[in-house]
């Protein structure tokens, strides 16, 4: 029963990814301008353009090209860059590693803090502490991230000289260096992603705290901490996991501003560069990576929710 539900959920994820691939392919093909023409420039002869089109399989029907593209994508060969003839895999490889590293460090830093703040705010609801947390999260969520990042650079890099203003992940050799390099982007990103996690965790938990079984726990003599951690929290895992997944998915595709400000060589920056140079295979691959990351996170959250529910676990 439960394996069937999880398989169904995974099936939906794969199907979604397939649909996304169609959308990405169609959308990038609908961009105006002929790729061969752009690559060769205005001065190219029609023969040269036609030759390149043939070499790039652009003369083939779109369906066929889609199948080729999808096949390449699945076998780990999404093609070569149109701009500098480097395989996309090589271009993305190091960048993806950087982005995942930044995402992982940010997640490791922000998720525990956000959950703790959300849970404690729910526990001491309507106290001064709760109001402070709520006020702070709203304040943070309303300030655009470039503001946070710029102010962080001004204070910590320019004035205090604590951290470098630019983050070159490539010259990290020790843990200390890692912390120094990552400090500012991680803090800026954490600000952005934590706010939603805190608010959702608090809301989900307050919702379960109002349930009769939590009152029953109190009437059995359970203190506040016990009734929250052992009674309310297990029933709020589903919504909390989803909030965390949604926030973290932002770390894959949405970090372009942070990457730009700190000149961090991540994949979002690569994609924007790809758009500027009309490097279709690069754009397509980046888009697919973002979608894959997003889907993977959301699917994991859903599976967590299924596993956390005994009604589904023991039919």
């Amino acid at each position: 029963m439960i394996t069937r539900m999880i398989m169904a959920r995974l099936g939906v994820a794969v199907l979604t990814l397939l649909i996304v691939s169609v959308v990405v392919f169609v959308a990038t093909n609908m961009l105006p301008g002929d790729v061969a023409q752009i690559v060769l420039g205005q001065a190219a002869t029609p023969e040269a353009v036609a030759g390149l089109r043939k070499a790039m399989h652009l003369d083939q029907p779109a369906v066929l090209r889609y199948i080729f593209w999808l096949g390449g994508m699945m076998t780990g060969n999404p093609g070569t860059s149109l701009v500098n003839d480097v395989p996309i895999v090589t271009l993305i490889g190091g960048r993806l590693h950087n982005t995942l590293l930044l995402a992982a460090v940010t997640a490791a830093f922000s998720v525990p803090i956000a959950l703790t703040l959300g849970i404690t705010a729910a526990m001491w609801r309507n106290t001064l502490y709760d109001r402070l947390v709520s006020f702070a999260t709203i304040a943070v969520v309303s300030v655009p991230e470039f503001m946070v990042a710029t102010i962080a650079v001004l204070i910590f890099a320019v004035h205090l000289h604590w951290f470098p203003a630019l983050s070159f992940a490539n010259d990290v050799h020790s843990l200390g260096e890692l912390l120094r390099v990552f400090a500012m982007p991680v803090i800026s990103l954490s600000f952005v992603v934590s706010a939603q996690m805190i608010r959702m965790t608090r809301a989900a938990l307050i919702d379960t705290l109002g349930q009769p079984f939590v009152e029953m726990a109190r009437l059995k003599g359970a203190g506040r901490v016990r009734s929250v951690l052992t009674h309310a929290l297990p029933n709020a895992i589903g919504p909390i996991a989803n909030a965390v997944a949604l926030s973290l998915s932002y770390l894959l595709g949405g970090v372009i501003i942070i990457e730009t400000i700190f000149n961090y060589p991540g994949i979002a920056k690569l994609m924007v560069d790809g758009v500027a140079t009309r490097d279709m295979p690069l754009i397509q691959t980046c888009a697919m990576i973002f979608c894959f990351g997003y889907l993977a996170l959301v699917t994991v959250a859903d599976i967590c929710a299924i596993l956390a529910n005994p009604r589904l676990r023991y039919k």
Binding site: P212, L219, G221
Partner: protein, 608 residues
């Protein structure tokens, strides 16, 4: 000192969102002697649960205990700190909640929750607590006492959960147990089992208890002393016998009267030469939920081969326990759920399965009134809008005429005309149900499907709604299909009664025939399970009511045998469990679905 609990001058106030404070409980004083059970009885809003909770020093959010004293043993509860109160809760005083289904945490096993209070208060090692829990499960007559603890709450039935909640309360051997409407959410047949096991545990352990309920008949079986509450103050306080036999306060007397609703079923006014065509006719109805399988039957079959016939101007009561398919029957007739098989005919015409395919006139003639007036009425629409919409839709009435008709409808259900501009949230439960009824009447239907319309109401209010239904029927020549789990309500208003069990019609006959022997064994169980308003009724019952938790689900799947076989006290092995029962016509005029013949049933004393 013999008084375990002494409450003096208790006062609790509630704070509304706008910050206004209103006292909801005031000047309460009572005592509970050791080893006795005192009942707090009253309708919703009478403050009975608030008082019970304050015995643990607990007030729900938005409420505050402002003054008074609650002494339990040597301790003054109200002056304790929050941490000290937590030490009392679950240790010295424990609580059994109204809905055990909601009071158990769905994400944790039953055992971990039952022994939790012993763990919190460090009363005994875990293994010892678990052994003790198993012992309690056995004392409470739970099936599979060793195994039930490792299950999750959704895996056991409501009646079992309620007994498990009792085990949860008793594990720490508290001085005082608070029972907060512990059987209200249960079917009568289940209620009787739970009451029986509560009573034996209370007696064996000499438990001191406070029993909160709205049901005098239930309380009469368990309590030694009854305190009648209304609007947060005590109306009357006396020993149980005295309250039942010789109540002083007029309010107590009205409660007693409402417990036995007046019978309105007119001895079937032989509808002027009964038209030949029945108003409503249902034949061989099969319905359920989920995708139809290869055999054309739905995934879960809820109704199986159900038939009925309703003459114009008469009422049919449909009765059965939760899950028997009675609401599904109403949904199929109303066109909300297309049937998988069989036919529904209205005035001789076969009705389409779904609302969308029925004519406007067919829709107008069959109206449905739901149990929960709270959720059936759109909270953002005024009463005038709610009633005006069907007027415009069915009768194309607009403007001043519409206002006039709305006022007329309100008058019909005995609501003042100035209610028209109110929102549902500003009305009481009984008023909402009247609006709900008026909404159905606006269509000027011939048939109203009443789905448990009085179940969510207090007894006095419910009795008034029944009076209103009877009056409307006389004035407007309506017919009702009256669905209820409560036989006394059905008897009060219906000419004919149909008993459903596990989706099968097990008995159908006139209301009067339901009082004469013999009955179908299930109808007999149902009738004998209704608590009577006298002390000693529970003790006087013989144990013929077999295992109440037979588990309907297990029965539903098997069509090749009697649906009631697993719970039937008079079953014949080798017949009832292998053959489908035939329909038998009894000499008193009713039909039953049973293998036993009339004389066999009579000889066994079924329904006597």
């Amino acid at each position: 000192m013999t008084e375990l609990v002494e409450v003096k001058n208790l006062r609790v106030i509630a704070r509304s969102d706008s910050g206004r404070e209103t006292p909801i409980v005031h000047d309460i004083r009572f005592t509970v002697p050791r080893g006795k059970v005192v009942a707090l009885i009253g309708e919703s809003g009478s403050g009975k649960t608030t008082i019970a909770l304050s015995l643990m020093g607990y007030a729900r959010s938005g409420c505050r205990i402002t003054s008074g004293s609650v002494r339990i043993g040597e301790r003054e509860i109200l002056s304790l700190s929050e941490a000290e109160k937590a030490k009392i809760r679950g240790r010295n005083v424990s609580y059994i909640a109204q809905s055990a289904a909601a009071a158990f945490n769905p994400a944790r096993t039953i055992m971990s929750q039952v022994v939790e209070s012993a763990m919190i208060h460090k009363l005994m090692p875990k293994a010892e607590a678990e052994a003790k829990a198993v012992e309690l499960f056995r004392a409470l007559a739970l099936p599979d006492p060793e195994g039930v603890g490792s299950r999750y709450p959704h895996q056991v039935s409501g009646g079992q959960l309620q007994r498990l909640a009792a085990a949860m309360a008793l594990i720490s051997e508290p001085e005082l147990v608070i029972f907060d409407e512990p059987t209200t959410a249960l079917d009568v047949t289940t209620q009787i089992e739970v009451l029986r096991s509560f009573k034996s545990v209370i007696r064996e352990r000499n438990t001191t208890g406070v029993y909160v309920s709205h049901d005098l008949a239930v309380v009469a079986q368990i309590a030694d002393h009854i305190i009648v509450l209304r609007n947060g103050s005590i109306q009357e306080s006396a020993p149980t016998e005295q309250i039942l036999a010789n109540a002083h306060s007029p309010y107590t007397r009205s409660l007693l009267a409402a417990a036995n609703p007046a019978v309105h079923a007119q001895a079937a006014p032989p509808a002027e030469k009964a038209e030949d065509v029945p108003l409503l006719e249902v034949e061989g109805l099969v319905a359920g939920y989920g995708k139809p399988g290869p055999d054309g039957l739905p995934n879960v079959t809820v109704l199986n081969d159900v038939g009925l016939s309703l003459q114009p101007g008469t009422n049919l009561g449909v009765i059965g326990e939760s899950g028997c398919g009675k609401s599904t029957l109403a949904r199929v007739i109303a066109g909300l759920l297309p049937a998988a098989g069989g036919r529904v005919k209205f005035r001789g015409e076969t009705l389409a399965g779904s609302v969308a395919d029925r004519s406007k006139d067919q829709l107008r003639n069959i109206q449905i009134v739901f149990q929960m007036a709270d959720t059936a009425l759109n909270p953002t629409r005024s009463v005038a809008q709610i009633l005006g919409r069907p007027l415009t839709f069915y009768h194309d009435v607009k403007g001043a005429e519409r206002t006039r008709r709305v006022r007329q409808l309100l008058d019909l259900v005995h609501l003042p005309a100035n209610m028209a501009e109110r929102l549902p949230g500003e009305l009481s439960g009984g008023q909402k149900q009247r609006v709900n009824l008026a909404r159905a009447l606006a269509a000027e239907p011939a048939l109203i499907l009443c789905d448990e319309v009085t179940s969510a109401l207090d007894t006095v209010v419910a009795a008034a709604i029944l009076d209103l239904l009877a009056e409307l029927r006389r004035e407007l020549k309506l017919s009702y299909l009256f669905i209820s789990h409560d036989l006394s309500t059905v008897r009060a208003i219906c000419d004919d009664v149909m008993v459903l069990y596990a989706g099968r019609k097990v008995e159908a006959g006139s209301g009067a025939s339901m009082r004469a022997a013999p009955l179908h064994p299930y109808s007999d169980l149902l009738v004998s399970s209704i608590p009577e308003l006298r002390t000693g009724w529970l003790d006087g019952l013989d144990k013929k009511a077999a295992e109440a938790d037979g588990g309907i689900a297990a029965v539903l799947a098997r069509a090749d045998r009697c649906p009631f076989v697993s719970r039937c006290p008079v079953r014949k092995p080798g017949v009832c469990d292998v053959l489908e029962p035939p329909v038998r016509h009894l000499s008193k005029g009713s039909d039953i679905l049973c293998h036993l013949e009339e004389r066999e049933l009579l000889a066994l004393g079924v329904g006597a």
